[in-house]
């Protein structure tokens, strides 16, 4: 197995139980109230533990793990080359045997990748993550005939729209510590890599410089932007003072500890989350856990105004999470939880009547489905 050269933030979770212990419920029968009476419900699970064979795909995953290389299968008759090598015989040629063929680690996006905000249970904590399909270059200078689904990442903060589009040239990079699975690799835009990095194969995660949002050009703070930032700090302080009065908002921030530096076009401030509270600091903290960058602080001010004032249905700001997903608010690493926790606070303040409002009807149905 490839050795870890350097500790880096990884999208992969290792050494954890397959199922989080918190997802194993206590055996119990509880009551649930319905319109016409009380019904019983029983805590239960439907897990089946697996030693799930990788079968004929073992060679492919071994090549990812041991060599940091991708191979596909080429049909000797029609010459189609498929990645990943999901079948050994070509049905278009009446099941003629296909041949193993290594492909390059460079290619293009088949389409603009999508960004998952609301993940299934087993992927919680990885959001937001981008997934997209890559056509990889072949030895004969062409592209593979199928495109492989991969995670897509950026060196410049959280994944967001505008980093990738259809046809974006990408390079596959490999995690330093690999197990032989699809999460061993991911795509990075070629435009974010140096010539040396582009030449390196396999390119390892530790050989890439991550979290480069310090390079985000915020410009020289104008007097107006500086003034807006001061208002942001004042309103943030107001929000912080409201939270201890709301059990729900306190619960939203419970069991979470982070220091966060907020860089804006009007200057920088910091806040800390800890012990269910929010503390605002009008200084720059060293080595924050998270850096958040936003050009226009008035966008934060709108969110704070909507969160702390009785605006009723006149909410103007999108959720902070949406600002991250749209790329208005840029995080230095793919860790959304601080933001999603903050997003829950305004509703909690209203529900606990700390921000006094007529109740707002939320019209959202339960997401999502389609199978």
């Amino acid at each position: 197995m490839a050795q870890t050269k350097k500790t880096v933030a990884s999208a992969k979770s290792k050494g954890k139980p397959v199922i989080s212990p918190a997802m194993l419920p206590m055996a119990a029968i509880t009551e649930v109230q319905a319109a016409d009476g009380v019904y019983l419900q029983r805590n239960d699970v439907m897990f089946t533990a697996m030693k799930h064979t990788q079968g004929e795909f073992s060679d492919f995953f071994r090549a990812l793990r041991d060599e940091g290389k991708v191979f596909g299968h080429r049909c000797v008759e029609c010459q189609h080359l498929i990645i990943p090598p999901f079948m050994r015989r070509c049905p278009a040629c009446n099941f003629v045997e296909m041949k193993k063929e290594y492909v390059k680690d460079t290619g293009i996006m088949a389409a603009t990748p999508v960004i998952t905000v609301f993940a299934p249970s087993r992927y919680k904590g990885q959001e937001p993550f981008g997934t997209g399909r890559v056509f990889l270059e072949t030895a004969d200078g062409k592209l593979s005939d199928t495109a492989m689904l991969v995670r897509v990442r950026t060196t410049r903060g959280t994944i967001r729209p505008g980093i990738y589009k259809r046809g974006t040239p990408v390079k596959l990079a490999f995690c330093d510590s690999r197990q032989g699975e699809m999460l061993d690799l991911f795509a990075v835009p070629q435009s974010e890599l140096t010539k040396k990095q582009l030449r390196k194969s396999p390119l390892l995660e530790s050989e890439i410089e991550w979290g480069r949002i310090s390079e985000m050009e915020l410009g020289k703070p104008s007097a107006q932007l500086r003034k807006t930032l001061q208002e942001v700090v004042v309103h943030f302080q107001k929000l912080a003072e409201m939270i201890p009065h709301s059990p729900r908002a306190t619960a939203n921030l419970a069991n979470w500890r982070r220091t966060v530096a907020v860089r804006t076009g009007g200057g920088t401030f910091s806040f800390a989350v800890g012990q269910g509270k929010l503390r605002v600091q009008n200084v720059v903290v060293k080595n924050p856990d998270l850096v958040v960058a936003i050009q226009d602080p008035s966008i934060l001010l709108t969110w704070l105004h909507d969160s702390t004032e009785p605006v009723g249905e006149g909410v103007k700001s999108p959720a902070l999470t949406d600002l991250v997903i749209e790329g208005t608010l840029v995080l230095n690493k793919p860790e959304l939880e601080t933001i999603t926790r903050l997003d829950r606070v305004p509703r909690s303040l209203r529900r606990d009547n700390v921000v006094k409002l007529p109740s707002v009807k939320v019209s959202e149905g339960t997401p999502v489905l389609a199978v």
Partner: protein, 399 residues
């Protein structure tokens, strides 16, 4: 092949969760309604097809086994169909073929699903567990380990279509369709979101589930059941004499499933910006019925996501590719337009109990055809990864 008619239909109300009912009871409620609607005795039914998408939702492998003796088909054949989101439509296809082939004269088709018993004890919420359960539909080697799931997968198709046709599937057009479906659902007594009012503005401000899709553009999870009774023409005639009501005829069926893997050749791989299965299935069904898409007055379309509804209507030939905004801007599917789409509120507002949603669509289309004097209706089902399954069924009202 023989002509096949639908002679009865029964629905349960759609709810996000029925704590009051198990799926056995939901199934019995729908079947009971259907046989009474048809004016028959269950003992006259010769065979059945049960559409159930997911064993995990039902918390039982072979969940249909419990129906034997509950839905009155003891010692008769009952076949389960499971085909992803298109389970309901595929179950109807199987039941229709049982009658058309001459094997049976009277067949019950039932679709039922639970969902919200799934619960994430860590998040203390149902939804992540439901999303995860559906996520088990992706292959366990290449795609599921990356976190592939339903909305991510459909969003890939939607995004690829927008790459191909920039400016189409405009946010405001999508939001207006949501608003329309919400209004239409208020006329569906079984709709899950009865009494709700969602505006285009709310849609545009709702949160993202998977960029570029927002939560108010997605269908809901539903628990419920729907049953239909299919009859041969001879049997349909007898029932008509008994009941005094014209049946609705199934005159065209088509189905196609695209390949799982994405590639550059539509004859061999999934081409990401297309829902080619919808195109092929619709073409086959219309050809079999001897009509064109212009002859169709009502479409009950499987709207897993609103932008997908728009792509599917382009695949069906209602609008050209790249012109799906015209559905709104030209008023094609709005009051006064030439086509009624999802008068039930669709799966977004009516509900999506996966095994039977397409049967709810059929119930609704039949109601509209009778109520508004529409001659032809089209039922659509889609499902699986990247919307790769497609079924189309043409209904005909013979005055």
């Amino acid at each position: 092949m023989r002509d096949v008619a639908i002679v009865g239909a029964g629905m349960t109300p759609c709810r996000s969760r029925w704590v009051e009912k198990t799926f056995w009871e939901l199934a019995q409620m729908a079947v009971s309604e259907a046989v009474h609607d048809a004016g028959i005795h269950i003992q006259e039914v010769e065979a059945g097809v049960a559409g159930i998408y997911n064993d995990i939702f039902e918390f039982q492998a072979i969940p249909e086994s419990g129906f034997q003796g509950i839905i009155g088909l003891q010692n008769k054949p009952l076949m389960r169909v499971t085909n992803g989101g298109a389970t309901g439509a595929y179950a109807m296809l199987a039941a229709r073929n049982m009658v058309a082939s001459g094997q049976h004269d009277l067949v019950l088709v039932l679709g039922v699903e639970k969902a919200l018993d799934c619960y994430d004890f860590e998040a203390e919420s149902n939804t992540p567990a439901v999303v995860q359960t559906i996520g088990y539909s992706w292959d366990p080697w290449f795609e599921r380990p990356l976190g592939a799931h339903a909305s991510e997968s459909y969003a890939e198709v939607i995004q690829a279509y927008m790459d191909e046709h920039p400016g189409d599937l405009a946010p405001m057009a999508r939001a207006k369709i949501v608003e329309l479906l919400c209004q239409q659902a208020q006329n569906n007594p079984y709709a899950q979101r009865l009494g709700e009012k969602v505006t285009a503005d709310q849609v545009l401000h709702s949160r993202y589930v998977v960029y570029p899709v927002r939560v108010l553009e997605t269908c809901v999870y539903t628990e419920g059941a729907c049953a239909l009774i299919f009859a041969s023409s001879e049997m349909a005639q007898k029932i008509k004499e008994r009941k005094g009501r014209e049946p609705i005829w199934l005159t065209g069926v088509g189905a196609a499933n695209e390949p799982y893997f994405v590639g550059n050749d539509i004859t061999r791989y999934k081409v990401l910006h297309r829902i080619y299965s919808d195109h092929v299935a619709t073409k086959k069904a219309l050809k079999m019925a001897g009509i064109t898409i212009e002859d169709v007055g009502v479409i009950e379309l499987h709207d897993a996501f609103i932008p997908q509804l728009m792509i599917t209507l382009a695949e069906m030939g209602v609008v050209p590719f790249g012109k799906a905004n015209d559905l709104v801007e030209e008023g094609i599917i709005f009051p006064g337009g030439r086509l009624l789409v999802n008068p039930s509120g669709g799966l977004v507002f009516g509900g999506h109990f996966v095994g039977g949603s397409n049967m709810m669509s059929t119930w609704s289309a039949m109601r509209e055809m009778r109520g508004r004097g529409i001659e032809h209706g089209l039922i659509h089902g889609t499902g699986a990864s990247l919307s790769m399954y497609g079924v189309a069924i043409v209904l005909e009202r013979r005055a």
